[in-house]
């Protein structure tokens, strides 16, 4: 059977190192910094519209940016204090966005507007989640309110909770389960209830036995709740891969997970749902894993959104060695940032600092056609052939290879013995097809 499946698609993934050095480190709350800079674009979709101006007093939870479109999310102040201006910020993805700069008063006074939302049905549940500013906390940052209201809601029967945490180093989701496992279950119950789902599947990689045991215990006696143990092979946390592992269903090419009857949410997002419905406190803090060989004291920290990367690293003992690379996110899909000034955003789950040596990968050499990228690709694509098609500038050929399914997981680059930046080439191929279509 397994062999038969391999005949269709080997999808071996990449055997990345786990490096979960911080898994046993309980989350530490970082003190509120003197200044925060909160970007208006911390999600996929339209940036939020700024609704405060210089001189305004804000409190924790005050709306400072309203959703700027259907696919968008509001932004809240993470501190109490005074707006001192706005600033343009360069995001890791290369886009620029406006950020509200707030001088904190250190009081952390909570806004009067923060109160538990009244939720009675699907519509009011979705409205509440939209107002909470929740976006996919696993890294993608897709507005949760939009995700929870799919057009084909009646066909959706399963909530897949993504607790695979397949990226090396990161343990923030693991800590969420260990410290707030009850919230996760509570949040899942809410989603299940208001979306009228029948199943909740929590997918956890086998390298987190403590989390598996804890979530299994919490799921006991709950109808429709199961924990799915996933192999410890990257990228188990990729949405479509997770759906296949957990339910056996395939998300049709070009469609959303709801087409396979699933909604996928990150485990931290689900935990947040429970807390928000209980308290009404919007998304203003984030748990982060801070690690890497150039950080003095790797930690799991909870920081207010808008704290600068530099201050987070200083809170973790500062730089142990000269920093060569700072990654916002994991080492497989995270973005290398230009400096340490970038503020912590909603979808950040890690800050990794690599020293000079680890910052630079070995030089690429000629492709030896070993086919390891084909074997590794979790989507069953053929990166080596796509690269050849890009070389000959053949957009039709690239398209025929289903380049649209590439999710830039980086497995192909990781396994490449010639050390070629295959994933980058795949992105170039995608861009090429997009431009050719114009």
């Amino acid at each position: 059977m397994a062999v038969f499946k391999k005949l269709v698609r080997s999808a071996c993934g990449a055997h990345v190192p786990h490096n979960k050095n911080t898994e046993n480190l309980e989350t530490v709350k970082m003190p509120v910094p003197a200044v925060v800079r909160i970007p208006m674009s911390m999600h996929i979709g339209a940036p939020a519209k700024m609704v405060v101006k210089k001189g305004d007093e804000v409190k924790v939870g005050t709306v400072i940016g309203e959703a700027g479109g259907f696919i968008s999310a509001p932004v809240h102040s993470s501190v109490s204090g005074k707006v001192v201006g706005t600033e343009e910020i360069l995001l890791p993805n290369g886009n620029k966005t406006q950020a509200v700069v707030i001088e904190t008063d250190g009081e952390q006074t909570v806004c009067e507007c923060v109160k538990a939302p009244e939720v009675t049905d699907h519509a009011s549940f979705v409205a509440a989640i939209k107002a909470s500013g929740l976006v996919g906390l696993g890294g993608a940052g897709f507005p949760a309110g939009v995700k929870l209201a799919p057009q084909n809601l009646s066909e959706v029967d399963t909530l897949c909770i993504n607790a695979a945490e397949c990226e090396p180093y990161i343990t923030a989701d693991f800590r969420e389960m260990m410290e707030c496992g009850e919230d996760v279950i509570e949040g899942a119950k809410l989603v299940k209830k208001y979306l009228e789902l029948s199943k909740v599947i929590i997918g956890i990689e086998k390298n987190k036995p403590a989390a598996i045991a804890k979530m299994k215990e919490l799921c006991k006696g709950l109808e429709g709740f199961t924990v799915c143990e996933l192999p410890s092979v990257y990228p188990q946390g990729a949405e479509k891969v997770l759906i296949e592992s957990a339910t056996g269903r395939e998300v049709p090419q070009g469609a959303l997970p709801s087409a396979a009857g699933c909604i996928v949410m990150n485990v931290a997002s689900v935990g947040f749902v429970a807390r928000y419905i209980k308290t009404g406190m919007p998304l203003v803090t984030k748990r982060l894993t801070v690690d890497g060989d150039a950080v003095a004291e790797p930690k799991n920290v909870e920081v207010v959104i808008g704290t600068s990367t530099k201050e987070v690293i200083e809170f973790c003992g500062g730089y142990k060695a000269e920093a060569g690379k700072i990654i916002s996110g994991g080492p497989m899909m995270g973005a290398a940032v230009m400096n340490d000034e970038l503020p912590v955003m909603k979808q950040n789950n890690a800050i990794l600092v690599f020293g000079k040596e680890a910052a630079v990968l070995p030089k690429a050499s000629a492709c030896i056609r070993c086919g390891r990228c084909v074997e590794a690709c979790p989507m069953g694509l053929s990166p080596v052939e796509i690269a050849l098609a890009l070389n000959s500038k053949d957009a039709e050929e690239i398209k025929a290879h289903s380049i649209d399914l590439c999710m830039a997981c980086g497995s192909c680059s990781f396994v490449c013995p010639a050390k070629r930046p295959v994933a980058q080439t795949m992105s170039e191929a995608k861009d090429f097809v997009r431009k050719a279509a114009k």
């Binding site: 090419q253 899909m333 995270g334 990968l361 000629a366 052939e385 050929e397 025929a400 050390k419």
Partner: protein, 314 residues
């Protein structure tokens, strides 16, 4: 603060082109030792000369064309050893060097170097040598003779001459390799040790060798011949384990590898049973090498979520 910025991923696996080639070389060491024990020190010397010649030719090519030096990836060493494995121990050194020049300069570098050759350099050079110097390439010595070697046939050739009917070469002799033949092919034991090493180190997938050997065995039975004899008696194991699995000239997917292996077995047996030659492995590999682009096209994986009938890529 000056930070290095590059696109993800920011980590890479342990294997490199060089480490893979080194693993292949290590896997060939048992066969090198076996050739020394069976045919004497000259066998090892011939292997060393051929490998060194391959490296020197690649070095000179890169130097002359002002290209980046690539001999460090060790692929030329692999080609050299494999080419030597296809020669009898009596092969004159100068002929071996001519073979190395063919393999590296014509088959590999003229087509763009590593990753671009459409056929296996060692196999192609072997065929060129066999057609150019037919006598020297089949001047097999009997292992028990040394300096004043008398010509001895490979078990396959002996079989064609009717020796098999008289009892032929015992299985144990074929398994250990103490019979006439080219350097690398005779000892099944040494080749299997190398095979095991390659599998453990995940350098190659078992798909091609297993389907190739199985096809040969099955067809032998179909043609009413001894399958074990066909597996052990000629160059099948050497070809199946070390030459048909060459990355550049074999298909990417498991499905493709199986098709490739079956095709190899089929051609090998057609040549062995119906052809005038006693051995068919090298021609089978060369012919199937040429089919690889087509096999790759026809045996693609089905992407996750793609419709059952995908529009065929060119």
């Amino acid at each position: 603060m000056k930070l290095f910025v590059s696109s993800a991923p920011h980590i890479t696996g342990k294997d490199s082109s060089r480490s893979i080639m080194l693993d292949v070389i290590i896997a060939m060491v048992p066969a090198i030792i076996a050739s020394g024990l069976i045919f004497g020190l000259r066998a090892v010397l011939l292997t060393a000369v051929t490998a060194a010649a391959c490296v020197v030719f690649e070095y000179l090519w890169n130097k002359a064309l002002k290209k980046e030096q690539t001999v460090g990836d060790l692929s030329a060493v692999v080609t050299g050893i494999l080419l030597a494995f296809n020669m009898p121990s009596t092969m004159p050194f100068w002929m071996a060097i001519v073979g190395a020049a063919f393999a590296i300069l014509m088959v590999k570098q003229l087509f763009g170097g590593i990753g671009y050759n459409f056929a296996n350099p060692a196999i192609t050079a072997r065929i060129i040598l066999a057609t150019s110097f037919a006598g020297s390439m089949t001047n097999f010595v009997h292992p028990t003779q040394t300096i004043d070697a008398i010509a001895s046939a490979t078990p396959l050739a002996a079989n064609a001459a009717g020796a098999f009917a008289e009892g032929g070469v015992p299985y144990l002799t074929m398994f250990l390799g103490t019979h006439g033949g080219v350097l690398g092919e005779t000892s099944a034991l040494a080749l299997l040790i190398g095979f095991a090493y390659l599998l453990i180190k995940k350098v190659i997938s078992p798909a091609i060798p297993v389907t190739y050997i199985a096809t040969v065995a099955v067809l032998a039975v179909v043609f009413g011949q001894d399958p074990l004899f066909h597996v052990l008696g000629g160059g099948l194991l050497l070809g199946a384990i070390f030459m048909a699995t060459d990355y550049v000239t074999s298909p990417y997917t498991l499905k493709g590898k199986i098709v490739f292996g079956i095709g190899l077995g089929l051609i090998t047996m057609l040549i062995r049973v119906f052809g005038t030659m006693t051995e068919g492995v090298s021609y089978a590999i060369l012919i199937m090498n040429l089919f690889v682009p087509y096999i790759n096209q026809l045996t693609r994986q089905k992407p996750l979520g793609a419709p059952k009938k995908v529009k065929e890529a060119k």
